[in-house]
Amino acid sequence: MSKPANEWTALTLTQACAAIHKGEFSPLEFTHACLERIETLEPRLNAFLHIAGEAALAQAAKTDPASPLPLPIAVKDVLTVENMPCTCGSKILEGFVPPYTATAVKRLQEAGAIVIGKTNTDEFAMGSSTENSAYRVTHNPWDLSRVPGGSSGGSAAAVAARLVPAALGTDTGGSIRQPASFCGLTGLKPTYGRVPRYGLVAYGSSLDCAGVLAQSAEDAALVFSLMAGHDPLDATSADVPLPALTLKVEGSLPLRGLRIGVPQEYFISGIQPGVERTVKNAIEQLSHLGAEVQQVSLPHTEYALPVYYIIAPAEASANLARFDGIRYGPREQAESLWEVYIRTRGRRFGAEVERRIMLGTYALSAGYYDAFYGQAQKARTLIRRDFEQVFEQVDLIAAPVAPTTAFPIGAHGDDPLAMYLEDIFTLPANLAGVPGLAFPVGFDENGLPVGLQLMGPHFREDLLLQVAHAYQQTTDWHLKRPPIDNK
């Protein structure tokens, strides 16, 4: 039975693909429906930095309805799309139009996907609320006075409000999983190297991962399977075959035989009671589905935050050296080359980017390198070993995504450390390079979504997605929609 056009955007990505494959509506009609919804809701959300309406319609008209992904998606503005502006949320890339498309995006386009626009992000993906964007503040569709999380907050808000069925994000320390949790979505940070980084504007090169924010594990699996795989243009991309991602649930105990570890270090005093209660209920539900739940220990968890805030800024200070007003972006005019550099950078980088560049520069500077950067790299080994040891005892780890639900816009003001603490449960997976999946498992007392995080061994995204899918077959948290249509 066909649905009326105004209900198409309520479909999950998998459902919308099936409807297009069956001829219920065309890629062009669906793209029209998304653009109409964007026109209505975007003024309240500020999810996008660039909306490519005409280009998307032109592309949709040419899209083969039989292709695997014949519908519009949104792309976080740190991934390049040829001939579409890419600012990374920064004034230093104002007006930059990249001459090439990121591999992850290109693979989806080859599968039929239509890029409808670029989504808002903390400047160069540095932040946990999207408030560090130089252009606008994105609002959480569940409560417009709150942040959507970050740094992939624009993508999260766009999918949560059903402006698009799925969107791409990037995750260096939690930037897919935390906004997915804040907005009630399923967000996958793949294994480091699983999805190519070519065309992902580098922040912390040893940590950066491209991934997807979607409405269900099934949706995330479809998009992920089309993006993953070795790329000769990225020397750090992994050459490991992708297992089949046909998610199926059998019997009343579909998780029988699965061992899930719950790390004691992830239930600390700073965690909100509503988050702790909801996460524990979800883990209980996984055991009802047959999983065997046991407590495990990741003893170096408390060092993940200091390790991350040395390694990521150190890498950022090197990566962002390329933004100097010479090859791209605007230039602040000056007499000497030195002044061009310092003025362009000093005037066009935002405060959080400047802080991290300075922190990284300090950690790498003569006299401090061994004490900071060297020590952090060794501590990173200990964090990686924690995971290796736990994955000898259990198949995967279940934990909170973040200690809080979505917080009010402006709540962390000018206190960078308070903001950094938002990422304490997501940073370890980036440091160890393991995959992480966030998916919605309930609400707190304010009606805000709470996510559960699953982490698995390298290259076992299939396991994370399978478990989340089994959970989503017996619950409907992932189908709850924000009240944004009621206003």
Partner: protein, 100 residues
């Protein structure tokens, strides 16, 4: 241990950032607080532990070192704030007075 203003000046110069006096003082306090927090790492005994430089390196493969087509020069120059004769244009690199 708080950073001094001289240290902030030095870091800003290394990082090629022009900062106002207010910004310097503001960052001095914020960076000092962050450094105090991350000094927690010094308590960890890492003797004999090898460093980890990447999320994963064991499964990577280098491509053959063969010439292949790259991006076109005019496409790469299209975003340059100033260009001349197919090249990026910059102020004098060797500047005896304006440089540092």
């Amino acid at each position: 241990m708080a950073l001094t203003l001289e240290e902030v000046d030095h870091i800003a110069a290394l990082a090629r950032l022009e900062l106002s006096a207010d910004e310097k003082e503001h960052y001095r306090l914020q960076l000092s607080a962050i450094l105090d927090y991350i000094r927690k790492l010094q308590e960890l005994d890492t003797r004999g532990i090898p460093p980890t430089a990447s999320g994963l390196i064991s499964a990577t493969r280098l491509r053959e070192d063969e010439p292949r087509p790259g991006l076109k020069r005019d496409h790469l120059l299209a975003n340059a704030p100033e260009k001349e004769e197919g090249q990026f244009k910059v102020p004098p690199v060797f500047d005896l007075d304006g440089g540092r």
